[in-house]
């Protein structure tokens, strides 16, 4: 953006979200001199994205959250939620939530999948909004700079899982744990309830996905019913739970990264904690859409699915919890 466009963007943001304008304006970035940080983040673009996402946050997903005070207000931190819902609205909602509710607003940097880098427009927009393509070196650099990083340990396996697998965590990648120990970074286990029902998808067009370099290409019943409008997610109610930060680095020195067994054990601890938060959320929620509508809830799988699946039980046994 040039200076004029930046001024216009600020004016639009002020008009759209006057209540948050001062807060988000106060966020400082590591400006290289032209209004961009080394990763391509531009504060005005991030403000615009925030304004749009805030609208979705308030009116579409009607997000509620618990435990935002568990997220450290300064220093490096890793936020590790479950991942779901085909399109990563869960990440966007967490970002809006922490920016809106934290005592001192911070920009959350999300680590996104490599495939986003190939896509025109997506590539540029993600960088301008502060998102980072998932190279390990980028991850390290962010933590070194004391940033708050959102990482989905499930990767795209989470967003691409079938509807029947909702709220069952897939395998966690271990990279985040290694970086947490190496960079002495606390981990905030987080659960997002509601995202797993936003795109109940039926089948994955794998050959087409491969051709387009996408990790998956799902078809949802809504796409069949209303055509391109089916790209809109269902207005499920989101609830976000932030767990207490886990400071593994206090007990495990950086050399632990050379011990895969311990690392897998620590990752399982995080996974179990996220699953516990998910279970708590599922127990507490009133319905998929935030109110009891028994017939629709029943169609989408019900509100109170609290029985832990087999996999969860196995993890809990393994982690000794």
């Amino acid at each position: 953006m040039n200076q004029r466009a930046r001024q216009r963007a600020r004016a639009i943001v002020k008009m759209l979200i006057p209540e948050d304008y001062e807060r988000i304006q106060s966020i400082k970035i590591n400006d290289l001199g032209f209004g961009y940080d080394p990763f391509g983040l531009e504060i005005e673009s991030a403000m615009m994205a925030y304004a749009v996402a805030k609208f979705i946050y308030t009116h579409w997903f009607r997000v509620e959250s618990h435990g935002v005070e568990n997220v450290p207000i300064k220093g490096p931190v890793l936020v590790t939620p479950n991942h779901s819902g085909v399109l990563p609205f869960d990440g966007a909602m967490i970002m809006v939530d922490v920016t809106k509710k934290m005592e001192t607003p911070r920009i959350m940097r999300a680590v996104v999948d490599n495939f986003a880098g190939f896509l025109p427009f997506v590539n540029t927009l993600f960088y301008r909004w502060g998102q980072i393509i998932g190279a390990r070196r980028n991850f390290e650099e962010l933590l070194r700079q004391g940033e708050m990083v959102l990482v989905f340990p499930e990767g795209h396996k989470g967003t691409g899982k079938p509807y029947g697998e909702r709220y069952k965590l897939t395998r966690f990648n271990v990279g985040f744990m290694e970086l947490s120990l190496l960079n002495k970074t606390p981990i905030v286990p987080t659960a997002v309830i509601g995202a797993e029902e936003q795109y109940p998808y039926m089948l994955d067009l794998k050959p087409l996905a491969r051709m387009l370099n996408f990790p998956y290409l799902p078809v949802t019943p809504m796409m069949l019913l209303v055509g391109p409008l089916g790209i809109l997610p269902l207005p499920t109610k989101y609830t976000i739970y932030y767990g207490e930060p886990l400071h593994f680095y206090r007990d495990y020195p950086p050399e632990t990264v050379k011990d895969p067994e311990t690392i897998y054990g620590l990752v399982d601890t995080v996974k179990t904690r996220v699953q516990e938060l998910i279970d708590q959320g599922l127990r507490e929620r009133k319905g998929v859409f935030g109110f009891s509508l028994s017939s629709l809830d029943a169609l989408l799988g019900g509100a109170g699915e609290t029985a832990p699946p087999d996999e969860r039980r196995q993890i809990q046994e393994k982690a000794g919890t």
Binding site: N2, L32, G33, F34, Y36, P38, F39, G40, N114, G117, F118, L119, P120, F121, V122, N123, T124, Y127, I132, I133, G134, A135, R136, R137, N138, E141
Partner: protein, 354 residues
């Protein structure tokens, strides 16, 4: 009493040091003086480097080598300190004669800065074989002669960041160990750059000659034949639709500073050198007030070819097809720590100021 004795001893030591210092210093300075051979001295970087070295007291003799007669701007230099030689380093005989020549031996050349490398524009006007010979074989022959000579203790090669493989999922800062571009379908000029870089890398372990490879980001400056210079010089630019990568521009002053530091300091190895200005490509185009049109990627190559045919640009899209999509920033940590390099100058555009 004990304290007094200690003080006396200290004083004595200091006095001895003071007496010895001037003699030792003189001898040390004489041995430390750098006598430098610069290939491609008539180029913009070469001539600016020659000038900078000429006014450096730590540099003794400067020998400039290039094709053609001595340019007028070297006439201001004292011939005792600056010597110009018209020779073709491609010719084995010329190269051998250079190292055997009495003035080379008299000058006690101990440092060679290899800048002679045909740029993409010049390369295009010659046959592929010809520019490959100069860029790659010329570099290899010169390096071998330097090592064989026994007197050359440092060989500095000016490389470029085009040697790196540009990918969307690259780390934001590429360090010196990042993957090089060994793709078979890349522009032949990039292949030359990578090959020459690899030839120098293969000799990095040499004990007699310290090899220094300086990989610069996009050099911007008047009369510089760099790709980005040609890009911003063009009245009309094209970029890939949907992409706006970050690029780094380095000022000519900082290029000279980096080479100068590499000559002075006792270093060897590969160093990334980047400038002070980093921004999306569209921001620089805007500061330069150049017209930039975004086109779908498949249209970029024919559009660029058309502009070149019409004489509107000297820029080669084929060299930068990935750079126009994905960011490439260099990690200069090693250069900062070992060379003490810090970019000092910002890039100025003729039409606007960056």
């Amino acid at each position: 009493m004990v304290k007094k004795i200690k003080k006396t001893v200290k004083k004595k030591t200091v006095t001895v040091k003071k007496k010895e210092a001037p003699v030792a210093k003189k001898a040390e300075t004489a041995s430390r003086k750098k006598n430098v051979l610069i290939t491609g001295v008539t180029g913009t970087v070469g001539s600016r480097l020659a000038e900078a070295l000429y006014y450096d007291k730590n540099v003794g003799v400067i020998m400039g080598v290039a094709l053609g007669a001595k340019p007028y701007y070297f006439n201001q230099f004292d011939t005792k300190r600056f010597r110009y030689k018209n020779l073709n380093i491609l010719k084995q005989r010329d190269l051998t004669n250079l190292f055997l020549a009495s003035d080379f031996k008299e000058a006690k050349i101990n440092t060679v800065v290899h800048l002679a490398f045909l740029n993409r524009v010049v390369s295009a006007s010659k046959e592929k074989k010809t520019f490959n010979t100069l860029n790659v074989e010329g570099t290899r022959d010169l390096l071998e002669k330097c090592i064989e000579s026994g007197s050359v203790t440092k060989f500095i090669f000016k490389s470029s960041d085009v040697v790196y493989k540009i990918r969307p999922h690259n780390p934001i800062y590429l360090d010196e160990n990042a993957d090089l571009n060994f793709d078979t379908d890349v522009d032949p000029w990039i292949k030359d750059r990578v090959d020459a870089d690899m030839i120098c890398q293969s000799k990095l372990d040499n004990r007699k000659t310290n090899i220094v490879i300086l990989r610069f980001s996009n050099i911007i400056g008047r009369m510089v034949s760099s790709q980005m210079n040609a890009f911003f010089d063009s009245p009309l630019n094209f970029r890939a639709l949907g992409f706006n990568p970050l690029i780094n521009l380095i000022h000519m002053e900082d290029v000279i500073q980096a080479i100068h530091l590499a000559i002075r300091k006792n270093v060897k190895g590969i160093f990334n050198i980047a400038g002070a200005d980093t921004a999306p490509i569209s921001t620089f185009a805007e500061i330069n007030r150049s017209r930039m049109v975004s086109l779908p990627e498949p249209l970029l190559r024919p559009s660029n070819a058309l502009l070149r045919m019409m004489g509107l640009t000297r820029y080669y899209y084929s060299v930068d097809q990935d750079r126009l999509k994905y960011s490439l920033l260099l990690d200069t940590g090693k250069a900062q720590k070992t060379l003490g390099f810090r970019p000092r100058s910002h890039v100025y555009f003729e039409r606007g100021v960056a």
